[in-house]
């Protein structure tokens, strides 16, 4: 029992230290960027300096707390984060949460939809491939997924736009409708989600196939076969259960990194999700928004790592046995 507690504590300490490190890195990088959010206040960079007198500038800086030394800003920043206060957007002049939430929701819709598509394609294919490893079918599927995996996701997105929006005119070219009706949201997310799904399924397929193959080589699969069990039993009970924990952990990790693929898809489709907002806030030096989005990026990866750990704890009795 003592061992497992120590294990648990050390894991927790590790994740907390990762969080702190991420927060610090993001803060330092963003705040030290050359340029200032005030350059863009109220319009394009060229116009502002004329309107902004030195006096107003000072006032604004102190209003946003940007006149303080960096370490003081850091303390304020961390303190705010601890109170789940993400600050006030300088460019949009609205609380960051108000700006972020709708964008975050659209991205989540895109990713979730995309992941559902991607897994419903790649999961069965990877089982078939692994089960009949070396067959023509396996070879074809693997080559195909490798090819898709090699195409950059922005190229896939462009291709999709050309085929479905430009040539066939099936999908809208613009990213989003003003109406926030759920069907509209889904409709606009569909194109990006499909591209996202195709891009991710190559990767997902490949690692799932490999997990299944190493699982199929295990002695207990051979023993299960020797017992004349139905293929269904072997696959569902022995193959899946054994490989579920590594696969779900890996999927959680993929999900964590999927914001990156999203970044390309959202920008090609002009889909106003969170990664699209990242580039906007970067352009206007909107520190609070930029910091929040970068933190979201890093936190999803960290949280997904933690979830992967927890999942293998729940599913795998070997790990569970070790813990309790």
């Amino acid at each position: 029992m003592g061992v497992s507690r120590r294990f648990f504590v050390s894991k927790a300490a590790f994740y907390i230290s990762l969080f702190i490190l991420s927060i610090t890195t993001v803060f330092l990088l963003v705040r030290m960027m050359p340029g200032s959010p005030l350059d863009y206040l109220g319009g394009e960079a060229e116009d502002v300096p004329y309107i902004l007198t030195e006096e107003v500038r000072e006032k604004l800086l102190s209003y946003y707390g940007l006149d303080k030394p960096l370490w003081e800003q850091y303390i304020v920043f961390v303190n705010n984060l601890l109170h789940l206060n993400f600050g006030y957007s300088i460019y949009f002049s609205e609380p960051v949460t108000r700006i972020l939430l709708p964008h975050l929701m659209r991205t989540l819709i895109l990713i979730t939809l995309g992941f559902l598509f991607s897994i419903s394609i790649s999961f069965p294919l990877s089982i078939i491939s692994a089960w009949r490893r070396g067959s023509t079918l396996d070879t074809i599927i693997t080559l195909l997924s490798m090819s898709i995996y090699s195409i950059p996701s922005f190229a896939l997105a462009i291709l999709f736009l050309i085929v479905f929006s430009v040539e066939l005119k099936l999908f809208p070219l613009i990213g989003f409708s003003a109406e926030e009706n759920i069907l509209d949201i889904l409709w606009y997310a569909l194109g990006p989600a499909m591209v996202f799904a195709v891009a991710e399924s190559g990767r997902a397929y490949y690692f799932m196939r490999n997990s299944f193959i190493s699982e199929l080589d295990k002695d207990y699969i051979l023993f299960a076969k020797s017992k004349g069990l139905k293929n269904k039993t072997i696959i569902l009970r022995h193959l899946l259960r054994g490989s579920l924990s590594p696969i779900i952990s890996k999927l959680a990790l993929l999900f964590g990194y999927s914001l990156l693929s999203c970044m390309f898809v959202e920008n090609v489709f002009n889909y106003p999700g969170i990664t699209w907002l990242l580039l906007i806030s970067y352009e206007y030096y909107d520190y609070p928004v930029l910091e929040s989005i970068l933190l979201i990026f890093m936190f999803t990866v960290i949280v997904m790592n933690a979830i992967a750990d927890i999942i293998s704890f729940i599913i795998d009795p070997r790990v569970r046995g070790g813990w309790m």
Partner: protein, 324 residues
Amino acid sequence: MSHVSDTSKEVILSIRDLKVKFYTEEGEVTVISDVNLDLFKGETVALIGESGSGKSILGHTIIRLLPKNANVSGHIIYKGIDLLKIDSSLLRNIRGREIAWIPQMVGSSLNPTVKIGVQIGEVLIDHYNYRNQRAWSSAIDLLKLFEVEPAEEVAKGYPHQLSGGMKQRVLIASAIAARPNLLIADEPTKGLDTIKKTLIVNIFKKIKDLKPDLSILLITHDLKFARELADRVIVMYCGKVIEINDKNSFFELPLHPYSKLLLKSLPSKGLYPIPGKPANVANPPSGCRFHPRCPYASDICEKSSPPLIKLDLNRCVACWLYKR
């Protein structure tokens, strides 16, 4: 080809001209050559030989579990059906229900993520359409019979909670749950101490009581174990069958020079090790494969390989000394 045949007993399995090759990076390796033998209903045959002589491969071949890089030729006739020619659905019906196999790898042959009770009962569900409840109680009955106590608790647990001896018994229970007619047991006493070995001997006796007409192919290099359980003994050396004998006759008057030396190497007989290095199937000696280590070797042994000579109804040997 000479082989044992006995009209008074019913042949359950007969192997004819069996040859197993592996395609490896280094080229083709023939690990089993010209194996001919019969197994009768209800008897226990010990297959002995030093490690690397192809015993396990023979077991895998019978239950058709060889890896993809293996090539098999010859016939394995089980109840009139050639096992090497049947399709996968018939094979599935034979595995577990007609022919069962206890793998050599005790530690890794149970699925670590599936409950013990399920792993024992699942054959009954898949072969005889048992209800889950009934399969579960049959599993518990078997555990009780094999003295894996407390049976209810063990059935609910997972393999990592068991000791090596318990795992071995669970493995046996899992293999024979569907009451097969032929059992191939690959080194069931490997790595166990004397007390646990006695337990396993008792378990085999119990299995025999449960189903008197069960035939057992007992793969082992434990001569004491073979002596306690077997009716007949088959000796393999470097991929070939070199002697087939009745148990009593084998232990009193072994035929092949290798068998003689093997018996002399027993602790009770003074532990005289067999001189020379074991032959390697990848690079077998010319002629009789035992001739480099044989004290009786003559010119002919070096030049040509002796056929399996039938001495009488129950005894065969592959040695030039017996050629009149």
